[in-house]
Symmetry: C2
Subunit: 240 residues, 2 copies
C-alpha cells in the first residue's frame, strides 16, 4: 500500500489505481475536488469539442435525491446479477471462495454506495449518435478523474448504476432528458479507501498485446516482476 500522503509518480500511480468500493466517511475538501476535476478535464477528446460535463453530488438537496436513486439502481442491478451469474451457487456456496468474497464486497458496495463522500456523473454532449468511437470523448476523462483521485489518496470505481433510474435522476438534477443528446457515461463514487491502493490484477501481457498481426505474441510484452494476474473466478463483469 502506498502512503496516501505522497503523490506517486505517473507510472506508479497508473499501476496502483485499482477500483475502490469501500470508502471512509471523511468528506472530500473542495480543494481536492478541484484538483481531481481539473485532472479529469485535461484528458484528450480525440476532437476539440470538449463535450464532457461532470455533475458532482455531495450533500445538496438534489444530490441527496439523486444519491437515493443511484443506490436503488445499484441494488437492483446487483440483485439481478447475483442471481444471473450464480454468485451463491457452485463455488460461491463456500463462504471463503473468491466468488463468495466478491459477492460480499458487492453487496456491501451497493448497500452503501449512496453514502460515498462524493459521487460524480460523467456526461457527454453527443454531437452524433452515441457509439463506441464517441466514447473517446469522455472515457479518457473518466480515467484521468480516477488517476487524479489516486494522486491525492482517494479511490473510486466506474459504475453504470444510474441506469435503472436514469430518467428520474435526470429529472431531479434538471438534466436534458434525451440520452442520445446528452449521455451519462458513468457514475463514479469517490472517497478515501478502506484498505489501500495497490497493484491491479490483469491477464498476462502476452495475452492482450500483439505485434504485426492479430494474435501474434510480441516477444517484448512480458510482465514485470511482481505483476499480479487475474485469478480464476466469476466469469463476467460486475457492471451494467
Amino acid at each position: 500500500m502506498s502512503d496516501p500522503g505522497v503523490e506517486p509518480s505517473l507510472l506508479n500511480g497508473i499501476a496502483t489505481t485499482r477500483s475502490i468500493r469501500r470508502y471512509r466517511p471523511d468528506p472530500v475538501p473542495t480543494e481536492d475536488l478541484n484538483t481531481i476535476l481539473f485532472a479529469a478535464t485535461r484528458a484528450p477528446q480525440g476532437s476539440n469539442r470538449q463535450g464532457f460535463r461532470f455533475v458532482v453530488l455531495r450533500d445538496g438537496p438534489r444530490a441527496l435525491e439523486a444519491r437515493r436513486l443511484i443506490g436503488e439502481g445499484a441494488r437492483s442491478v446487483w440483485a439481478d446479477k447475483r442471481v444471473t451469474d450464480a454468485y451463491d451457487r457452485g463455488s460461491g456456496a463456500a463462504d471463503d471462495s473468491p466468488k463468495a468474497r466478491m459477492a460480499r464486497t458487492m453487496q456491501h458496495f451497493v448497500d452503501h454506495v449512496h453514502e460515498a463522500p462524493v459521487i460524480v456523473l460523467a456526461c457527454l454532449h453527443c454531437h452524433r449518435a452515441p457509439s463506441l468511437a464517441l466514447g473517446g470523448a469522455v472515457w479518457p476523462a473518466v480515467q484521468n478523474l480516477l488517476l487524479g483521485a489516486r494522486a491525492l489518496g482517494y479511490g473510486g470505481v466506474i459504475t453504470g448504476w444510474h441506469g435503472p433510474r436514469e430518467a428520474e435522476i435526470r429529472q431531479v438534477l434538471g438534466m436534458p432528458a434525451d440520452p442520445d443528446r446528452l449521455a451519462i457515461a458513468a457514475t463514479i463514487p469517490l472517497g478515501r479507501p478502506v484498505g489501500g491502493h495497490g497493484p491491479v490484477r490483469r491477464r498476462p501481457l502476452a495475452e492482450v498485446v500483439y505485434e504485426d498481426g492479430w494474435g501474434e505474441a510480441a516477444p517484448w510484452a512480458v510482465d514485470p516482476e511482481g505483476a499480479r494476474f487475474t485469478a480464476p473466478g466469476p466469469p463476467s463483469g460486475l457492471r451494467l
Copy 2:
C-alpha cells in the same frame, strides 16, 4: 516543457499530456514499449472481462502494409474535413491564423503518420453491441497508454484513421472481420515529440463542472493559476 528524461508526478503527467502529432524518427526501444503497454493494461474496464487487445505496428511486413492503409485513411479523412470545415476559407485564408496553423499541422500529420515510430491499434472484444457504455472497457486503457508514453517522454494522439480502410487493415493483420464482435476503437501513433509536452488548453472548469444540478456552477471549480484556455478557433473536432 518538461525534461523528457525525468518521470513526472501523477498530477503533473496528467496535466502535461497533450496530443502530439509530430514525431522524431527515433525508434522506441522494446523495453519502453513494454512499459507503455503495461500501463495501458492497468486500466479498469468497468467490468472484469478484460476485452481490450493492442496490436503494435513497427516494421514487420504486415505492419508496413497496415501503416500504408492507415496513412491513406488519414489523408482521405483530412482532405474531406479540410473542405467541410472550411479550413482554407474565412480566417483560414490568413497564413498566420490559428485555423491556417492547425491546417498546416494536420496536413503534415496526415502526410507522415504512417512513418510514426510506432502505431498502436486499440481493440475491444465486444460481448454485446458496441456502445458508448461499452467504451468504458477500452478508452481508459487508451488514456493510460498515452500517459504511460508521456511518463517516458513519448507522445501520441487518438485518431480514427483506420476508418476508411478498416476492412483492408483487418484483412492484412488477420483480424476477425466483424467490427461488432471485435472493434478497433482507436489508432494511436507514438513517438518522441518534435517540440515538447506541455499544458493542454481546455475550457474553463466552471463551464464543464457542475454541482448538485445540471448547469449549476460549482464555486470551488476554479482553474489553477497558469491554466491555459481553449482559444477561439475551428469549431469542430479533428478526428473521425
